[in-house]
Amino acid sequence: MIVVRPNNVTKNIKRPQFKLFGMIVLLGLIIILTLVAPLIAPYDPTEVQLTERLKPMSSENLLGTDHMGRDILSRILVGAQTTVGTSILVIVLALSIGLPVGLISGYIGGALDRFFMRIVDALLAFPDFIIAIVLSGLLGPGMFNLVLALVVVKWVSYARLVRSTVISENQKEYIAVAKINGLSSIKILSKHMIPHVVGNLVVYASLDLGKVILVIASLSYIGLGAQPPTPEWGAMLNEGRNFFHNAPQLMYIPGIAIMLVVLILNLLGDLLRDRLDVKNK
């Protein structure tokens, strides 16, 4: 017989499921805030009002105003659409290239596999950030080119991940049985391979999302991403740089926003890995 003692209650809360739930709620909150940002932003994030510039935090402007008199809270909220929204877009696009390439490469193998994997090898040989800088530098600054550059960099690791899972599953007996029973390749891939791949992909994508946010913010910081006056957290950091003596909030507010979102994503990724990763089970 199990006696329920009070300290078991606290133990339960500390279980990964509860933390995981908490993190998912936080991420959900961020996504909802991002989606409704234009509706809840108290001011127009691009409206310049020079008489109102560099105002400290107040009841009118909860986070103060920037060097052009724009409301920082509104810019952070709408900026989330650019920063977080673009990052999600990058991950989705990278997944939609990486997943099929990985599946085909791993399942069919042969010359096609070698062809794809040499491209992957070549792209993995360089640091992500450098390729992204070179590409967005060549294509010219702007969000579209930035997304393009990041997708080019990012799809390869997904392809690699999917391919290795497919290859290891492919050698297992149940796949052999499925093949003998005459199941079509498409069915095998969708019924047996994808469910195995998804867990790893979700873990990887949630960790990667944090990295992509940082890269987008970094590239915008150096002027290759969002163009003024588009609110974007990295670009806001860059614009605030000149004022860090008089108005440090111009830098630390977007900084905190980036940090919080990336922290939540990393914690979420870790917890998901604990739960989903086969190796840890």
């Binding site: 691009t46 409206e47 310049v48 020079l50 008489t51 510039r53 060097h67 052009m68 008199g69 600054p141 002027g223 163009q227 003024p228 006056p229 740089r241 000149n242 004022f243 860090f244 003596h245 008089n246």
Partner: protein, 514 residues
């Protein structure tokens, strides 16, 4: 136990950090200052930090050698923006085509060679070989050197010829020397000791300088294109003089008693350029509407941190050739009126003409950080009238505007660098001009500028220049926004720093340290 360990580790880490901070503050700064003082007593040295990196020390291609006092020109421009003798004592011309210059006596180059008319001639001969733009500006046909008298014949009458010689690239070097890229030999108070391209130049004084012994023994010129870094270098003591530190830091620097800041108006103007070849912008009423949206006073007070004056014309009003500018009002109502006169209707927050919404792109660049901000202000104001303005920030503005189809551009240029109107008018409004980005050939403006180029008599030139500026003004061919100040901050130990309006002369023989 584990928790305790973590905590104690964190605690000790913080302690270490704190102790590292305190020891550096406690020990380094006073002794560092003492060292510096002792050093300067024996060896008067100064570090000048600027925003213009130099890839070469060739005075005929780069401005730094003149700014650093390595070389000098025949003619210079003084603080009243008038030209005055420098290496030449006097000059004259009957017809504006044959010019006679008397070269100052008893001057030696830094290698001991004598400066005479033949040396000046040799220097000019090299100049027009290496610099096409100077060749086109000077239009020298032939030169004749005799003792200290140099006669120059130009290809056509060139009344502004002496003022063209103020150009930093027209500096006189000893053309018999070699290695101009590393160690040019000039007549100035300082000579190159060591040069690292794009990083720094070390100068040592030239004791036999013709105008008196320089006060400093050596000068280090370094470059950093980040305005904040220039402010911080001054505060940390890495630089004695910081040229154009961050404009936003002016209040903070003025509050620091060990730092003096110096502000001078420049002959530079920030402009909004219109591409009048574009269908929409060919209408003067639209240009007027855009001009009325420029809140010049607010730009001065906020974006420029009061370090500028509102500009209503291309030249500073103090210049003799600047007409009385009509003061342009910032008024959104007026802008709306002009916009409607131009045939636009504001429907559902969109300015439309013949059903098509008005969308413009303004090209800007971040080398002058205030220009993107001015663009954003214009964008925000235009939005109120339903005009959509996109901002494009580019790296190389000159190349971009020359090669691309653009609508609007913010630009900054020294409109009268040599105290003469013809430079601006020719380079911005004449076919083939280096800054005529819209390749404009204006029917009434072109003949006036042509006439100006052929006129020698000073009053007549002033009259013609005023006429040309009035046409530009009436037709809103561009909008002048502000005249920015030159802002320089230096330690209070620096003596006799003069902020030069033309940005040509920086390190002089009189500059010293306590």
């Amino acid at each position: 136990m584990l928790k305790l360990n973590k905590f104690s580790l964190l605690f000790s880490l913080i302690l270490m950090l704190l102790s590292a901070c305190s020891s550096s503050e406690g020990a380094n700064s006073p002794s560092g200052a003492e060292n510096k003082n002792q050093e300067t007593n024996q060896n008067k040295e100064l570090t000048f930090l600027s925003n213009f990196p130099s890839e070469t020390m060739d005075p005929h291609l780069n401005w730094t050698p003149l700014r650093a006092g390595i070389v000098e020109t025949l003619v210079k421009i003084n603080e009243d923006l008038q030209i005055e003798p420098w290496l030449a004592t006097e000059w004259s011309s009957e017809d504006g085509q044959t010019w006679t210059f008397n070269i100052r006596e008893n001057i030696t180059f830094q290698n001991g060679n004598k400066l005479d008319a033949a040396a000046v001639k040799a220097s000019f001969e090299r100049l027009i070989v290496v610099s096409d733009s100077m060749k086109n500006a000077l239009k020298i046909q032939s030169m004749n050197a005799e003792g200290q008298t140099l006669t120059i014949i130009t290809e056509e009458p060139l009344p502004q010829f002496p003022s063209e010689l103020v150009h930093p690239n027209a500096a006189i070097i000893d053309a018999t020397e070699e290695n101009f890229e590393q160690k040019p030999v000039g007549t100035g108070p300082f000579m190159v000791d060591a040069f690292e391209a794009g990083t720094k130049v070390t100068l040592k004084s030239y004791e036999q300088y013709w105008d008196g012994k320089p006060k400093l023994n050596s000068v280090i010129l370094t470059f950093n294109d980040d305005a904040n870094a220039r402010t911080l270098a001054l505060q940390s003591g890495d630089a004695d003089i910081s040229f154009r530190p961050a404009i936003e830091s002016i209040e903070m620097l003025q509050g620091d008693s060990s730092i003096k800041s110096d502000v001078a108006p420049s002959s530079r103007t920030h402009l909004l350029m219109y591409n009048t070849n574009k269908e929409a912008l060919s209408d003067v009423k639209l240009r007027k509407a855009l001009d009325a949206m420029l809140d010049r006073d607010a730009i001065v007070a906020s974006i420029m941190a009061n370090q500028a004056t509102a500009a209503y014309g291309p030249f500073l009003p103090q210049f003799p050739f600047a007409p009385d500018y009509e003061k342009k009002q910032f008024s959104m109502d007026l802008a709306k009126k002009y916009l409607e006169e131009a045939g636009y209707e504001i429907v559902n927050g969109e300015a439309k003409k013949d059903g098509k919404p008005l969308t413009l792109t303004v090209v800007t660049y971040s080398y002058r950080p205030e220009l993107p901000l001015i663009s954003q202000l214009l964008q925000s104001n235009a939005k109120q009238l339903g005009i959509k303005i996109n901002i494009q920030v580019v790296e190389n503005i000159d190349e971009y505007l020359m090669t691309t189809d653009w609508d609007l551009a913010t630009y900054s240029l020294n409109t009268a660098p040599r105290g003469d109107a013809s430079y601006f008018l020719n380079s911005v409004y004449m076919p083939g001009g280096a800054m005529n980005f819209s390749k404009l050939e204006h029917e009434s403006l072109k003949p006036i500028i042509n006439e100006l180029n052929g006129t020698i008599e000073e009053d007549m030139r002033i009259q013609l220049a005023k006429e040309a500026v009035s046409i530009i003004d009436e037709e809103y061919l561009h909008s002048s926004i502000v005249y920015p100040n030159i802002f320089v901050a230096h330690k209070d130990s620096v003596e006799d720093w003069v902020t030069n309006k033309s940005e040509f002369y920086m390190i002089t023989k009189d500059l010293g340290v306590k």
